[in-house]
Point group: C2
Chain length 428, copies 2
């Protein structure tokens, strides 16, 4: 249900092996379904760009049409414009990271950064560590280079470093196949959980001890609704490869992200980027630069935070009110997502058609595991895009779908056709 494999056709005999194992994104596949007006989508990960003031957009675009036109319309450097890099240095300084323009490479969204890093570092069979579940776009980026992705479960304090250490012991110190650990420490996608300071410290110690790179993906860091700022991994260790994006603090339509990394890492990424897309959009980079220098973007960001805060609260309240006691879910302090875990015998993939019929979509949990190897009893639900009223209604609809299934399962359980449920862990 959650993946679309390719059908046989004329060019099937030409296809590269790497593509045979690729899965289409369930989120992308749901894009079409979600445009039905009666369906409330909890499946996407879209910011609400209607919150962006038109005056800010016009101001940001002005220079690209005017005195910086010749730059905005022309090819640019592969690693990006220096002026736009400086803006990203300023954004990094706000969150406690000191970076110079030469430590920054601009990408076509953080998604391209994931592809480029994978392309530069992954040989087939190499070991990549990541939270499990993790961002499905990262799994897609990795999969093109055929690594062995090992998933580390999380709890409310983020990636379980005890399980990470156990996995590392199996891998062994100085294993040349071990390349990097990919983590989303703040308001993880899809988990919603945030890595504690103690775990961050431990992860970096283990990176040192076992010799792997740490890739810190931080799209949601500035969207915090409760609690205090957490120090980024990058601020704790300069060797960390940090991925930033404007997608959630400005606009994803401009496809602009950045990597902060030591220069030896950026040299490799620059080399692979030449062959991948030559350079990013100069036009978008000029617009981004001016958005962060000529407009009251911090006020706009506050509007994003306030709006999503209310929506998150609406979702958590609705879950409390409507979801059955058999379900558990995470309580994110920021970001876009809640991760719901149902009893082991649930299959959220097959349940999706019923949900769609009931007028609600979500992303089945197995999308967030390599090879859909786990997560069948879980789902990701998004609260950033719909109104609080729609979120409450969507959760109510979803609760009904789950309740219907539960009744069916209860009958199976009574008949002994399936096993009794075990206590659910968020990441089982």
């Amino acid at each position: 249900m959650t993946t679309a494999h390719l059908t046989f056709d004329q060019t099937d005999d030409k296809i590269a092996d790497r593509v045979k194992k690729m899965r289409s994104s369930a989120v992308r596949d749901l894009f079409a379904a979600a445009t039905r007006p009666d369906v409330i989508s909890l499946s996407g990960g879209m910011p609400d760009v209607s919150l962006l003031p038109q005056a800010s957009i016009k101001k940001a675009v002005r220079a690209a049409c005017d005195d910086q036109r010749s730059v905005a319309l022309q090819y640019g450097a592969t690693d990006g414009r220096k002026e736009t890099k400086q803006v990203f240095c300023d954004l990094m300084r706000d969150i406690g990271v000191r970076a110079k323009p030469e430590n920054i490479l601009i990408t076509s969204g953080a998604q391209e950064a994931l592809d480029l890093i994978s392309k530069a570092f992954i040989n087939p069979g190499d070991i990549i560590l990541a939270e499990g579940p993790t961002y499905l776009g990262a799994l897609q980026a990795f999969s093109a280079y055929e690594p062995d992705v090992r998933c580390i479960a999380f709890d409310e304090e983020g990636m379980r470093t005890d399980l990470l250490e156990a996995e590392l012991k199996r891998i062994g110190k100085g294993n040349p196949r071990l390349k990097f650990c990919y983590t989303i420490p703040n308001f993880q996608n899809p988990g919603g959980v945030t890595m504690s300071a103690t775990r961050r410290k431990r992860l970096l110690e283990l990176a040192d001890e076992y010799g792997f790179m740490v890739v810190e993906d931080d799209p949601y860091g500035r969207l915090r609704y409760d609690g205090g700022h957490m120090v980024p991994l990058k601020a704790m260790d300069d060797r960390v490869v940090y991925l930033g994006t404007i997608s959630k603090v400005f606009a994803p339509g401009l496809r602009t992200g950045w990597i902060v990394a030591p220069r030896d890492v950026l040299a490799k990424v620059n080399l692979v980027k030449q062959g991948t897309d030559l350079c990013g959009s100069s036009f978008d980079q000029v617009v981004v630069e001016h958005y962060f220098t000529d407009t009251p973007w911090q006020k706009t960001l506050q509007k994003f935070v306030q709006t999503y805060h209310v929506r998150r609260d609406a979702m958590l309240s609705a879950l409390e009110e409507h979801f059955p006691p058999e379900a558990s879910w995470t309580r994110p302090e920021g970001g876009f997502f809640v991760w719901v875990t149902l009893p082991d015998y649930f299959d959220t993939g097959s349940m999706l058609s019923e949900a769609l019929e009931a007028g609600v979509t979500y992303v089945p949990g197995d999308s967030f595991f390599p090879g859909a190897a786990a997560g069948k009893n879980s789902m990701r639900i998004n609260f950033s895009f719909e109104s609080p009223e729609n979120i409450a209604e969507a959760v109510r609809r979803l609760a009904h779908v789950i309740e219907d299934r539960l009744e069916l399962y209860r009958a199976f359980l009574e008949a002994g056709a399936i096993q009794a449920p075990s206590a659910s862990q968020p990441t089982d």
Copy 2:
């Protein structure tokens, strides 16, 4: 001289094997040098975007800031906006190709198209056919997937299909390793030559007979200064994979290209694009759509054509006037480039520092062959960006550098230290 290999560093033990063989683009490396005000660059491949009317840019951008703002700022479909695809269908119709939006996938410039097609179809060791010399960005895109690129020489009628056939006989019919033939039939980069109608027909016959895909890269097709329109390969056979770009008819800074292909090909490309960058810039796609619907773009294109025509003539005249009889060069009917061949004993890579000192840059010919395996005695020179006066002056400077080397070589020849020159062929 023409390639930059990576230096040893902290993360060198982590690097993927595919990167070890990658070469940095000489063009990109020359970017910095070319900004010295006393240097005239014949090395780039940049359109002269100063010819674009500001009013057109403003008109094109208006919708993206206004009523199409919510689309322009948001994530889009992986394969691109339908309205922008429709514009590309119209552009294709102009050149004799019938295409529907479902046969189009929008990319981040034609460079991304090359990467995606390579990612979807090339296994390590697979055979790719291409003109030799060919576009260095294509070689970079291919190299990430470690194919065996076989170069087919061209003459004034484009790729020599007799040599192609001989190579195909060595490869054998139905060889599963043979994937596609990459060609730039119009005003080839770097050769400047155009494939004749007879050769086009023959290429397609051979594709049928030997079972390979044809990838037609056509960035310059609309920039013709002499002669009549040539029917694209795509118009002769619908299975051809056609690559288009707005970079030379509008602006490369907006990084928008497109693939026209059968749906089974696009399904695979779409799948790999999800993991590569999720989707292209919605903002740029909205701007591109409105450029080609709301502005007098055909008049602007005529201005491009007239301007480049004059510059090409200036370059050909200067070559006639200043270059020594030992040099030969192509006479392009369109596009951006002239390909110069010097006697076999020349090394244009080592000559580049002398040229730079003399205030002129070009791209050494070996950049356009896989592994720099040939082309050491040739160079690519560009006529699209500089004024006719600068072009004439640059060619004069270059002639002096060549003349100095010739004197040196003549002395070596007389001393018997190097072999006598053979008759130069454009692509030897």
